[in-house]
């Protein structure tokens, strides 16, 4: 009888927990969805912010393009670095010690808080290298933030390659690069791309690294790497914290959420789907 009572408590705790978690997630997203839906019109998406103070009226077009540009740029740089470390771990590294060391360093970079990366980007990229507040400085800073995401996800994807495939190819004296492009990549590319997408979405939502390096209150759509840009998360922060326009803030938050859903949707669709690799 007593045991039964303890079981009941456990059961209640589990159901209560999952309901609380799901409820909070749905409430947060649902509230923004409902409130933001009325703010989003074609005009909101495709016009620049207007009004006094800026952002009271008008839309988010430059912020949207700015965020996309920041995401794209950081994705390019982070993919290069992240793919390289993961490929090194799986193609060239023969010592388990070095393998773990790389993992450890990547884990540590992932642990650097985004505001400290922002601080670093500000002094190094903006001031020391003289890039100024610019798309390039912001993209570089963001790429430092998401490179571990790409590296860890690619590492995971490559771990699932069956050794008999690659070992046979190495035994035949096939170069590592050829093995990668013709055996590993066709098989694992969906998982790798999905990891990169997750990193990109993460970059587009980040505020702290770009508020010191790239984002400004008002700028045209990005045209040059060396100009500052607007960005959705920073725009939302300003709209909400200065109470400029709550309606536009809901709209901006919803656009950010929709970008997130699109990125995650694509990543989920790709993840775990086998490429046209041979069995």
């Amino acid at each position: 009888m007593l045991k039964n009572w303890q079981d009941r408590c456990l059961q209640a705790w589990l159901y209560f927990s999952i309901l609380l978690v799901v409820g909070t997630a749905l409430l947060t997203m649902g509230y923004i969805l409902v409130k933001g839906w009325s703010a989003i019109t074609l005009d909101f998406l495709f016009s620049a912010p207007r009004g006094m103070p800026l952002g009271k009226e008008g839309g988010v077009f430059p912020a949207l393009t700015g965020s996309l540009a920041l995401g794209l740029l950081s994705m390019l740089i982070a993919s290069l670095l992240g793919l390289a470390t993961a490929l090194y771990q799986h193609l060239y590294c023969s010592s388990p010690r070095v393998y773990s060391l790389i993992r450890l360093v990547v884990q540590c970079i992932a642990g650097i808080p985004s505001i400290v990366l922002g601080l670093f980007g500000y002094t190094f990229f903006v001031v020391s290298l003289g890039l100024g507040h610019s798309l390039l400085a912001g993209g570089l800073t963001l790429s430092l933030m998401i490179f571990p995401v790409v590296a860890i996800n690619t590492d995971k994807a490559l771990t699932e390659v069956r050794p008999e495939q690659t070992l046979a190819s190495y035994a035949l004296g096939v170069p590592r690069s050829y093995t990668f492009f013709h055996i590993i990549w066709p098989e694992r590319k969906n998982d790798i791309i999905s990891g990169i997408l997750l990193g990109t979405v993460y970059a587009m939502g980040a505020t702290a690294p770009i508020m010191l390096t790239a984002a400004v209150l008002s700028a045209p759509s990005p045209g040059s790497l060396l100009r500052p840009v607007m960005a959705l998360p920073y725009h939302l922060y300003i709209l909400a914290s200065e109470r400029i326009s709550m309606e536009n803030a809901y709209g901006t938050a919803l656009v950010l959420l929709l970008l997130l859903f699109a990125g995650y949707g694509a990543a989920f669709l790709l993840f775990g789907r086998r490429g046209e690799g041979r069995e």
């Binding site: 045991k3 079981d7 456990l10 059961q11 705790w13 589990l14 209560f16 927990s17 999952i18 609380l20 978690v21 799901v22 909070t24 997630a25 749905l26 947060t28 670095l81 390289a84 470390t85 090194y88 060239y92 773990s100 790389i102 884990q107 540590c108 970079i109 992932a110 642990g111 650097i112 808080p113 985004s114 505001i115 400290v116 922002g118 601080l119 670093f120 500000y122 002094t123 190094f124 430092l144 490179f147 590296a151 170069p175 690069s177 587009m204 939502g205 505020t207 702290a208 998360p233 922060y237 909400a240 914290s241 709550m246 803030a249 938050a253 959420l257 997130l260 990125g263 995650y264 989920f268």
Partner: protein, 289 residues
């Protein structure tokens, strides 16, 4: 022949970029340290960390990080205390109770939760949570340690759940069939087998949660009120380290003592988080092996 040349180029690129990526960590740490040294030459490290007042621009200069550092620690602890019970419960549910049909959508939802930008969480805190706190406690403005703890608690839920679920699934492998065959109730098995065995996984999840909470900037800035007071009351305003840096770096002139003091604060935060992450790495490694 062509492949041979390509292979050499490919190998050199991969190796070069890997070395570069590894040196980034060292470079960032040394760079932040170098910029903070200026402060440590003027104020001893002890005074910097334990000093009780932060007045970086007044004539009577005071650079004491104590109220700000403790705010960071207390805020993260509060977030963890709020998040851990439901996170462990939800992880146990996902790993062992959840019907198969629900598993995929629930996991996707939790993954999406982890991806919601922190500024959106902050915004949701401003429009959803602050009005509730204001009505509940009759405050003129709900910005407080408690509000920050709740918002951060929600933010770290998915990270704790993901890490813990993983270890709980591993914990019961093999045992679950046996215990069912022996007629042991599912709940008894969870209580007596899964929970104790996945203890390390829960600790790893908690450590990861604290590290996410301590480095968080945007969501925190928007709901904690940003006054550098000691975190003594749940409803009082605080200013944790990330908020301090984000709010003050814009107005600190390049090269001023204020500017370097912010790097000092960043360095303290960086060292704390690196230590926490190393702990997480080794906990997880022990789990996997």
């Amino acid at each position: 022949m062509l492949h041979c040349r390509f292979e050499k180029l490919f190998a050199a690129t991969v190796k070069g970029l890997t070395v570069a990526a590894l040196f980034i960590l060292l470079f960032i740490i040394l760079f932040i340290l170098k910029e903070s040294l200026v402060v440590f030459r003027q104020v001893s490290i002890g005074d910097f960390i334990f000093g009780g007042q932060w007045r970086p621009v007044s004539l009577n200069l005071r650079l004491g990080l104590w109220p700000i550092l403790t705010a960071s620690l207390v805020l993260s602890a509060l977030a963890l205390a709020l998040a851990l019970p439901p996170a462990v419960g939800a992880a146990l549910f996902l790993a062992h109770v959840c019907p198969d049909r629900l598993g995929r959508p629930l996991r996707s939802l939790i993954a999406i939760m982890a991806g919601i930008p922190s500024v959106v969480y902050g915004f949701a805190g401003v429009v959803l949570l602050l009005p509730i706190l204001e009505r509940l406690f009759k405050m003129s403005s709900g910005d407080s340690l408690l509000a920050g703890g709740i918002v951060l608690g929600v933010m770290i839920l998915p990270f704790i759940i993901a890490t813990t679920t993983e270890s709980m699934e591993a914990a019961a492998q093999g045992h679950s069939v046996v215990s069912r065959a022996m007629g042991v109730s599912r709940w008894y098995m969870l209580r007596r087998l899964v929970l104790p065995v996945s203890r390390m996984g829960i600790i790893a999840g908690a450590v990861l949660g604290v590290s996410r909470a301590m480095g968080e900037t945007m969501a925190v800035i928007m709901v904690v009120g940003n006054s550098p007071l000691l975190p003594t009351e749940l409803l009082g305003r605080i200013k944790p380290i990330p908020a301090l840096i984000a709010l003050e770096i814009g107005s600190a002139p390049l090269g001023s003592i204020h500017y370097h003091a912010l790097f000092g604060a960043g360095f303290v935060l960086l060292v704390l988080l690196l230590a926490i992450n190393l702990l997480f790495y080794f906990l997880r490694k022990r789990l996997v092996s």
